[in-house]
Amino acid sequence: MRNYIAVIFNDTGKAYEGLHALWQLDGDMEVTVHGAAVVHRDNLGQFQVDTKETHPGLATAVGVGIGALLGALAGPAGAAVGAAGGAGIGAATGGMAGLVADAGRADTRQEAAAETGFVLGDGQSAVIADVSEDWTSPIDTRMKELGGIVYRRARSVVEDDSWYGSDLYPYDYYLYPYEYVPPAYPY
């Protein structure tokens, strides 16, 4: 089954361990990773796509999209405001990565949490990935070992969100242009 996952960690270092573990699971043929990115929310509530291993030219492309992505993973309530917030701020900042998504507001946060439980709190980091998995145990077990909490939404459900493909989100793929694809397959 094709899923978007969000794995929440309390610090960025652990999120990178999670990212590497995810690609290792791919190398072990337990899952197939189609793309992955690390997202961080600082103590002021600003979201940013971490540039450590995301290609710098892509990671700083534009603020549009990351609010939409996080919102989409949080559920329909988060999707609408996440997309709108991301588009507005991306346009206003002329391509700076990082934005304050409205999905972080307390009321929206509660609504999103009620639907899926996915919330990225201040100071936390998340691995966001598009994966194919025949069973959920490999990712759940490995991420639990690393202290991560896994949330899932089926890709088909995310893409059924009514705003998907609108002018607010100009890409045909949620992780684009933020995804990290390893330069070499991790054998």
Partner: protein, 129 residues
């Protein structure tokens, strides 16, 4: 339960690794100061052709779902080659447009090969259950 033998990685995994490497190299070149050089672009065109040939070579060994994704990937790889050749011969706005198309098709090929890998693994998983 359902664990797949990790020793049976095959040509498809190698094709995926090669396509990921190609996409990474193109995005690195596109992002660098001064942009991709003519030599870079000629190398990308050759690599795209080589990956497309490898993908074609492993088509018949795949199940139907994987075969369809892989055939789509070949189309994108051939387009990658074509756009890289065009970029090497152009300048200005036409050059930028060709670079963007080269990158977009390389990325699309990685996605399609990834989907082929997932289809193949899923079929193997069902067999081992």
């Amino acid at each position: 339960m359902g664990k797949i033998d990790t020793n049976i990685k095959d040509a498809l995994d190698n094709v995926r690794a090669a396509a990921q490497g190609l996409h990474g190299a193109i995005s690195d070149a596109a992002a660098k100061r001064g942009g991709a050089t003519k030599a870079d672009l000629e190398a990308f065109a050759q690599k795209a052709k080589a990956v497309a040939d490898s993908a074609k070579g492993s088509l018949n060994a795949q199940n139907e779902a994987a075969k369809k994704h892989l055939a789509d990937a070949v189309t994108h790889l051939e387009a990658t080659q074509k756009h890289a050749v065009e970029a090497a011969k152009s300048s200005g706005q036409a050059f930028q447009t060709s670079i963007k198309k080269t990158l977009a098709d390389a990325r699309a090929s990685v996605q399609k090969i990834s989907e082929a890998v997932a289809a193949k693994r899923s079929a193997m998983f069902k067999k081992t259950k």
